[in-house]
Symmetry: C2
Subunit: 354 residues, 2 copies
Amino acid sequence: MQIEPTRLLADLHHLRSFGRHGTGVVRPAFSAPDIAAREWLASMMREAGLEPVFDAAGNLFGLPPGPGPCLMMGSHSDTQPEGGWLDGAYGVISGLEVSRAARDHVPVAVVSFQDEEGRFGVLTGSKIWSGGLTLRDADQLQDLSGETFATARARMAHLAGPGFVDPARFFGFIETHIEQGLWLDLAGEAVGVVESIVGIGRMFVTYQGEQNHAGTTPMDHRRDAFQGLSAFNARLNEALAAVATPTTVWTIGHVEIQPGAPSIVPGRARFSVQWRDGEADRMARMATIVSQTAEAVAAERGLGCTLDQGIPVQPRKFDDGCVRRSPPPRIRWRRAAGAACHQARSTMPPMSPS
Amino acid sequence: MQIEPTRLLADLHHLRSFGRHGTGVVRPAFSAPDIAAREWLASMMREAGLEPVFDAAGNLFGLPPGPGPCLMMGSHSDTQPEGGWLDGAYGVISGLEVSRAARDHVPVAVVSFQDEEGRFGVLTGSKIWSGGLTLRDADQLQDLSGETFATARARMAHLAGPGFVDPARFFGFIETHIEQGLWLDLAGEAVGVVESIVGIGRMFVTYQGEQNHAGTTPMDHRRDAFQGLSAFNARLNEALAAVATPTTVWTIGHVEIQPGAPSIVPGRARFSVQWRDGEADRMARMATIVSQTAEAVAAERGLGCTLDQGIPVQPRKFDDGCVRRSPPPRIRWRRAAGAACHQARSTMPPMSPS
């Protein structure tokens, strides 16, 4: 099976022409360029021997002949308000090209999910299709201008067929994607296999110290909330480094120091801690380290400590058989970039959390 | 010479009655309670054998008979918008009581400076009297409501004499003051001698890093401005501790982290550094440590670094002979609290910087 690189690139450039804007693309879900792009994609699917099927959510499937389970490839063709020309598009067009190349050997379905970029919700089209959101609930969602999903999808009503494509038609799903991080670039590699989507842990910590005059309060009689934060940060870096892999990350991104005056010993510090990793065990271990470090530093410094734990996003490992059956990758890493590979079932998770 | 403790306390409580508010006092400069309190103080001075003299700035002097140079004692009787009942008041009333007790032995003048608490400027009354501010310039100063010093002092015009008391009439000035810090309390002592007024050094530091996605940027490819601040803080604590005395203090009180989102690696950190010490040499050494540490941490982490140095307040040592001639103190420390003691000349410095 050989793909045709020229055709692949020509299709990518053609898709780019819908909503082209500078070097990027403006093609939000259900906009005129988005709908035109989907109609063009449907014609390309038909040309490739696939049956184009729109569902009520605006998702476009290209289905190979026959009822049997097949592999699905694809991504999304809507963009951020100002998006890059390869994000999503590369996954859809490369899926189409693979399907064409594989046509006489194995059936490969192609998909472009709708509103992956969250004009209305989060991964709206794939979530409705995979059962995570009812169409009725989705219809209430509004974009920033107040337009509802119901109004937007009505613009595609003339294309939509009855019902939804049965997820049981697919035994697997592969999404190819340009890298959104630095890993391939740093490794000098062209391609890699993603093994999981990282989980996200989040916590807000509040340290309550004692607000004091910065001139009259001796150093060893202070309960300085900022010093608490700084000590916590140093200790956390050390503790997390001990369990981290090269792809584990953690961030203190939001910091409030009160009252915030140069002449006043800070009485209160509130800050965010966020951590990401591909393995549930490590995520849990990191959560424990964050809490315990926050509390230990507070106790040592006589600070009050309030932990406000956000709902974590659980990491999702991709189907191991599918990952293993991929051509031997020269680099493997855990990130929502590169080639996503997992079992497509009704529990299909989002493919690239932001 | 014996003071009369009962009379001292009775006078303190009477002064408290002007503008009494809860457990504290509301007696801002030139308010009705402030002027009434000054008129009562003048009558008490006269009773004590002193000649009460108001000057055009609202300062009230109680002068002993005779032209010869004498010691002056006192403080201020105006208060913060909501002040304590002993701040300033204790210095004025204790000066009055000492003058009464010393009456037949040595002449002691008493003073209550006006607007020490800075309704209009900074230590307005004593600054005008000591030549640091002209009356004409002072008249332009406005309080928070927009009222000018000129308008305010006109309310005391019926009391003001011509010109100002000649500072050369005094060979020394002693201000007694309640402790505003913790030192006496920690030492279990009742009284101490202040050897100097601390200097204040101040700097704003801006670290410019690289704002990045907290999910896709590996730890060792970040230029995180908050991490820069945290590392600077740890390094600074270590470096300053090596030169600090027990009374040296330093504070990071103002912190801005941008953009301030949990999911974004901070691109910018702007923060204040303030340090205080009683010795000019140490103040200069600390300034160097702050700058060098800020720049060293920035260089190591690839951060941009901008230092915005504020105008420092120089420390002021009190007259050594005067400090040495004080009754052997059980505790000596450098702070603008306790008993201030220095030569009163036309260069008289502020007595208690805030």
